[in-house]
Symmetry: C2
Subunit: 250 residues, 2 copies
DNA sequence: GTTTCAATCTCGTTG
DNA sequence: CAACGAGGTTGAAAC
């Protein structure tokens, strides 16, 4: 894999390398003393300090401080990246239209610059989501209860899509609301709104919240409206998430 | 600033440097050929490929592919990081309890390893949030309309907190729902639910959605229920967000 | 500690 | 292209 590194380059040398990296759409890594200005969806200013910067070939622009998981400033993919040297200060601009926004990185001093090329076409396999849960229940309706028969998934109502709609052993309508994590009051309210969509029915409609667990307050509201909770966790068997893997690169 | 770099080290050399970086709580940058396994809140596997890895002194563990803003795998601050060399393969483990989860990075080959120390205590200043908008309206109620008087902010209802509640020139009750960005149907539904909380009132209650813009469908629902929209953007004057700046490091 | 909610959310999918 | 919803959401504030 091609990889260029420079330790403590001059700002002139660094500017040239940054230009190279941009034109090659490389993955660039910088450790610099810099300040940062952002203007767009919000506004921010960050004074001078040591930061680690990633600029990807797709236009992602990521600025990390030395703590926290999240970057302190960033721009999403497809950002236009430009660089210029002015009065021995390097300015890297990331501009985007729609939304109109711009990130300005003012570099006083470069400690490390590196860039490399190399595509990574592997897709991640993952599991443990609401969609996996939905599929699991469609495949094994008895996980809800004996005699449960799903009639449709993502049934549309004025309030949005019902995760799973079905009928129980006695033929009563059952609305399922799925959550892959601990469910709170919002999940219960949503379920209630779905059930209310059938309030013109003569028959009582059952509302069941399906999630690994539930908050205490959510449980109270469920009881209040005679709705139920079933404890069920999403499956964690792995499957390929995206089908567009381009494995012929390997 | 102390900064160590090694280009294409052996896996033995790399393991030693990784150990050094961990024990010094340094900011480590790796460009490696690796695979990644995650087990915890969900499960994921990522096959071998070229990845860029950041490990911060606070325990943040971030793995980037060559596209997208977001890391493909990660662990938050306070993750315990460990490394071992087994059969000439480097394994970096990031473990956390509560939630119990673990990230395993299996490195076949190191292209670049670097670590550096240096604290960055500057706080960012930013603006443009819903909270700023709320404050702006409380300070200048005439932004809504002449004669508007806020009576309370974050007024509690069974449906949640109303952003701002007030009265208009004619003494009619007005419910404001604020959004710092383009508002969609969910914002309108939320406003409608708040207004419904006063449906036992004799008088008509006005519902006003305040946001920079609004989706077409949201506008239709607003009209349907005789609610209003006011176009207003959050202010963007800067202020220091965190008050815990430790500037005496500088 | 747990719960709730905004976010420069991001990212995918769908119409 | 805009809109909608899930996320290992994260992160902060409120309780």
């Amino acid at each position: 894999m091609l990889l260029k590194i420079e330790h403590n380059p001059t700002n002139l040398e660094a500017t040239e390398l940054i230009n190279e990296a941009i034109s090659k759409r490389a993955f660039m890594i910088l450790v610099v003393c810099c300040k940062v200005n952002y203007e767009g969806r919000a506004t921010s200013k960050l004074g001078f300090g040591e930061r680690t910067v990633l600029i990807k070939g797709d236009g992602s622009f990521i600025i990390h401080q030395d703590r926290n998981l999240e970057p302190i400033n960033w721009q999403p993919p497809r950002t236009k990246i430009g660089v210029k040297l002015e009065d021995d200060v390097i300015k890297i601009m990331g501009k985007r239209r729609k939304p109109k926004e711009q990130l300005e990185l003012v570099i006083r001093n470069v400690h490390l610059i590196s860039y490399h090329l190399g595509s990574d076409t592997k897709d991640i396999e993952l599991a443990g989501y609401e969609e996996d849960m939905r599929q699991m229940i469609m495949d094994n309706p008895e996980l809800i209860e004996k005699g449960f028969r799903p009639t449709s998934k993502e049934y549309q109502t004025p309030q949005g899509f019902i995760d799973i709609l079905g009928k129980d052993d006695a033929g009563k309508l059952v609305v399922l609301e799925l959550k892959s994590r601990k469910a709170g009051v919002n999940a219960v309210k949503q379920l209630l709104r779905y059930v209310d969509c059938f309030s013109d029915n003569k028959e009582f409609v059952r509302g069941i919240l399906v999630s690994p667990s539930i908050t205490e307050e959510a449980k109270e509201i469920l009881n209040e409206y005679q709705m139920e909770h079933i404890s069920l966790s999403p499956p964690k068997e792995l499957k390929v998430k995206s089908s567009t893997t381009l494995d012929y690169f390997f």
